[in-house]
């Protein structure tokens, strides 16, 4: 256990030097960030890194839109265009939206459940550094001019060495493999943190709904990522070891065509068994953020809290049974298509429940249209448009018509930008005061929202028309006689306006960091525990671990339990510590957890112990980086037994082992 009650061992590691604020040198500051295990700092690292990648991915999109602004344009060639759309998709999914969600998980989960850190602080640092390594590998590909160029879902047999002889696919396969390690490590951590580190009295159904979103997203990652791990291992075997998992025939030494029995569809199955749950990995955190924001600005508890939690779980569960809808056009036959069409349509039910519950929360509330609320309501409206075009694609004939056209591009940008990005921006506006102690400027924020909202629709709505008119995705150019010129100009100008909207946002952040209004502890009149402590929170989060006896604990503390609707289950739930009932919550106002408080006070409450900083997570992650780079460049090769291995890879494995053993043998806290 990291955060409580272990003696501070002297002279452990080099991060132990006592640094007083006045004497802190730049090196010491840098070192403290490299070795940090504080969930709040790791959250900020995730957030800033992911935002940079969001800008990189956006820049890639704007180059593509410049290319498509007029017919038969020659701004970038076909090869560069292939690299741009592949890296745009890969970057936005794995390097922008997922880690931005992760930034919120990191910063907020311990604060919302009343804990001092996550369950495994060093594993948390390892997740971040591994993510950084994976992102670096993917983007270093630009330097050798070999950025991935096969599309973000890397269909076989195009990825085979026969068709993609350069390193493009290697950068992609190994970069994603390492990002998978980062996501899995983070998810194990949040799973354990949420289940195990809730404050006394916080039952699962008293958790803030954001914790539910994080918990279920973590489960999705834990169960979905191994499929792509295997898919990428098999792909790497095909490319590095000459197997034929994804290619049905190959040329033998004599140059004759021979049947191997490999199957390109296996890639699609493995990829989409991961890939569809991945869609929910991208959107469930967004839903969870919005579910936190809307109640606060409607001044009403979340409508149908329990149903919302069940809906998240239902979406996740059904999400594992729909992957074939990405493969309707591969000719699997009417039976699989019908079954997967039905399961896909089913998902609309829990999703619709969530949308109606948000509306139900706002219904009759005292609405305050602050910037976070505008972005949150923006999600409800824009995601619904994307959701509806999603249900259209559940029908195989419609899907066949739309497949690989701009209609699909419009659909998933409505759910990923209109959904995920809107929610993430809402989250930044909502929690920025907690992160920094300063308010973001509301005036600029509102301008930012309306520009984003207009530009977003200008960019992506006409894509529906282009798709229906038959414009295919991923083509770097189109003919002047196609009649697509008009909408493409609109789309491209919308795209540039959307890019500009982020300049407004960055201006707001820069201005507010310098001279923003002081936020105070609780600027929005929040309902959850993070608003009960100072902004930014002290390094130990809570001086005293809070006792929870209400779902909207802070509202109950501020206004009494009569606020909003009453929850029947709250009156009978037991207050438990370590699985032992130590009291019941029959009369919440009478402090049902008196005994719990006494117990904790007798224990470690008077002293706050925090995990030691550690450099080993960074060392272990850099080991993974060198291992992968060695495989990609296959140089210099040294014979090991009967095979030759790249020296850099061997070195990377050694560094990884040094990291793991150093980590295991140093005291955790």
């Amino acid at each position: 256990m990291a955060s409580v009650a272990r003696p501070q061992t002297q002279g452990v590691g080099t991060g132990q030097a006592v640094v007083s604020p006045a004497r802190a040198t730049k090196t010491a500051v840098l070192w403290s960030w490299l070795t940090t295990v504080d969930h709040k700092r790791i959250g900020l690292l995730y957030g800033v890194t992911a935002f940079i990648y969001l800008m990189v991915g956006g820049l890639e999109a704007m180059i593509m839109r410049a290319q498509l602004a007029r017919p038969e344009n020659a701004l970038v060639g076909q090869e560069a265009y292939n690299q741009l759309f592949t890296m745009h998709g890969t970057t936005m999914i794995f390097l922008a939206i997922m880690p931005l969600s992760s930034a919120f998980f990191n910063y907020l989960i311990p604060l919302q459940i009343g804990a001092r850190d996550v369950a495994f602080p060093r594993l948390n640092a390892f997740s971040f550094w591994t993510f950084a390594a994976g992102g670096l590998i993917l983007n270093l590909s630009w330097l050798s001019g070999e950025a991935p160029n096969q599309g973000w879902y890397g269909y076989a047999p195009l990825t085979n060495a026969l068709y993609s002889p350069n390193r493009n696919v290697d950068f992609w396969a190994l970069g994603l493999q390492i990002l998978g390690v980062a996501s899995l490590a983070a998810s194990f951590n949040f799973l354990v943190t949420i289940l195990n580190m809730r404050a006394p009295g916080m039952t699962l159904f008293r958790m803030p709904i954001f914790c539910w979103g994080t918990l279920i997203t973590s489960v999705l990652i834990v169960l979905a990522f191994p499929a792509i791990t295997v898919a990428l291992i098999l792909l790497s075997m095909d490319r590095f070891a000459g197997t034929h998992f994804y290619i049905p025939s190959t040329l033998n030494a004599a140059g004759e065509l021979v049947f191997t029995g490999g199957d390109p569809l296996l890639w699609q199955h493995l990829f989409w068994v991961f890939g569809h749950p991945e869609v929910y990995i991208l959107i469930l955190p967004a839903f969870a953020i919005v579910s936190e924001i809307i109640p606060v600005f409607a001044r009403k508890p979340l409508f149908g809290y329990a149903v919302m939690a069940y809906a998240i779980a239902a979406i996740a569960f059904l999400g594992f049974g729909v992957w074939v809808h990405h493969m309707f056009t591969t000719g699997l036959g009417p039976t699989p298509n019908a079954v997967f069409s039905a399961t896909t349509m089913l998902i609309a039910i829990p999703t619709g429940v969530k949308i109606f519950n948000w509306i139900g929360t706002m219904w009759g509330g005292q609405l305050r249209f602050t910037t976070p609320m505008l972005f949150a309501v923006g999600l409800v409206s824009q995601f619904t448009i994307g959701g509806i075009s999603g249900v259209m694609h559940a029908s195989p004939p419609v899907d066949t018509q739309h497949n690989d056209s701009y209609f699909v591009v419009a659909h998933f940008h409505y759910v990923l930008f209109g959904g995920s990005i809107f929610a993430l921006l809402a989250g930044i506006y909502y929690w920025f005061p907690k992160f920094t102690g300063k308010m973001l400027d509301e005036g600029i924020g509102k301008i930012h929202f309306w520009v984003t909202f207009a530009a977003f629709n200008l960019t992506f709505f006409p894509m529906h028309f282009l798709g229906l008119e038959g414009m295919p995705r991923r083509y770097s150019s189109y003919g002047g006689g196609s009649g697509w010129g008009f909408w493409n100009v609109i789309v491209s100008s919308g795209g540039f306006l959307l890019g500009a909207s982020f300049l407004i946002f960055m201006w707001n952040v820069a201005k507010s960091l310098q001279n923003g209004k002081p936020a105070g502890d609780d600027p929005w009149d929040g309902a959850t525990l993070e608003w009960s402590i100072s902004s930014p929170p002290p390094v130990y989060n809570f001086r005293e671990i809070p006792i929870v006896n209400h779902r909207d604990q802070l509202w109950a503390d501020k206004y009494g339990t009569g606020h909003g609707q009453s929850h029947a289950d709250e009156e009978t739930l037991d207050v438990k510590i370590a699985g032992q009932t130590i009291g019941t919550g029959e009369v919440p106002d009478e402090d049902p957890a008196e005994e719990a408080r006494n117990r904790l006070a007798a224990g470690d409450q008077h002293d706050i112990h925090l995990p030691n900083p550690s450099i080993y997570p960074l060392i272990a992650a850099s080991g993974l980086f060198f291992t992968a780079m060695g495989l990609i460049f296959s140089w210099p090769r040294v014979p090991v037994g009967t095979i030759e291995l790249p020296f850099l890879t061997l070195g990377g494995v050694v560094v990884l082992l040094v990291g793991i053993y150093g980590w295991s043998l140093e005291p955790a806290s």
């Binding site: 256990m1 003696p7 194990f188 354990v192 169960l223 191994p226 295997v230 493995l270 390094v539």
Partner: protein, 242 residues
């Protein structure tokens, strides 16, 4: 950084107090289950999907060598009696793993060392057996990763399982070394329990792999390429080669 300084001060103030509580006291968790144990269960659930994907791949490809008419075929190379012995060795190691845990839970450090050594030795025997099996297939039977789909999927599935066993052996040996240096006592029994969870899981996966790869009979290999399914042949001809 200011925050860093605060952290140190808190630590300095707390040192004396904690000594009263000692290391062994586990802080309470909401579920009563230790963090590390729950992490291991979460990891194993993830590893289930990992092996499920690999096993599905193997099942899809288990008769493709026969269809393609490219030997050696599985029925020619698989040696059930030989692998049964190494399977028995691996399963037996689950017993010694349990005995290691039982020993440390009684605070019997010597018993722990004996049974940890026995478990890692059995694991190494299994890996040695796999090494000889692989060499036999490769050098005598001429089966490699590139030969046919059976070779590719067989070596990948059993190789990745072997990698899991190897990681388990390294873990067990590391724990043995720590215990020889006096670092494991009754209060650390969770460390043994967790490696045990991993070890039993790897054993259970082997039962499934052993059944699918070795015990369920294969079709005999055909004489020529005619057995390739027509759809595949059509696909072949449609590809833009030569």
């Amino acid at each position: 950084m200011a925050t860093t300084a605060v952290q140190r001060v808190e630590h300095a103030g707390g040192t004396g107090h904690v000594a009263e509580h000692g290391h062994s006291e586990h802080p309470p968790t909401s579920t009563g289950i230790d963090h590390r144990k729950m992490l291991m269960w979460a990891f194993l659930s993830s590893d289930c999907v990992f092996f499920a994907s690999l096993i599905a791949t193997y099942v899809i490809y288990r008769s493709r060598a026969q269809e393609a008419g490219v030997g050696p075929y599985p029925s020619e190379v698989v040696d059930i009696p030989y692998t049964s012995i190494s399977a028995a060795v691996l399963l037996f190691s689950s017993l010694t793993m349990v005995l290691a845990l039982a020993a440390i839970q009684r605070d019997d450090v010597r018993g722990l060392r004996v049974w940890l050594a026995a478990t890692s030795l059995l694991g190494m025997i299994f890996l040695g057996g796999q090494y000889f099996e692989f060499s036999e297939f490769y050098q005598v039977e001429g089966l490699s990763l590139q030969t046919n789909m059976f070779g590719a999927s067989f070596f990948t599935l059993t190789g990745l399982h072997g990698t899991h066993v190897a990681i388990g052996v390294i873990w067990l040996v590391s724990l043995l070394v720590v215990s020889l240096r006096g670092g494991v006592s009754k209060k650390d029994s969770l460390n043994v329990e967790i490696v045990g969870l991993y070890w039993h899981f790897v054993d259970i996966v082997w039962i499934i792999i052993f059944t699918l790869v070795y015990l369920i009979p294969y079709e005999e290999g055909p004489e020529g390429v005619e057995a390739a399914p027509e759809a595949m042949l059509r696909l072949m001809n449609a590809l833009p080669f030569s």
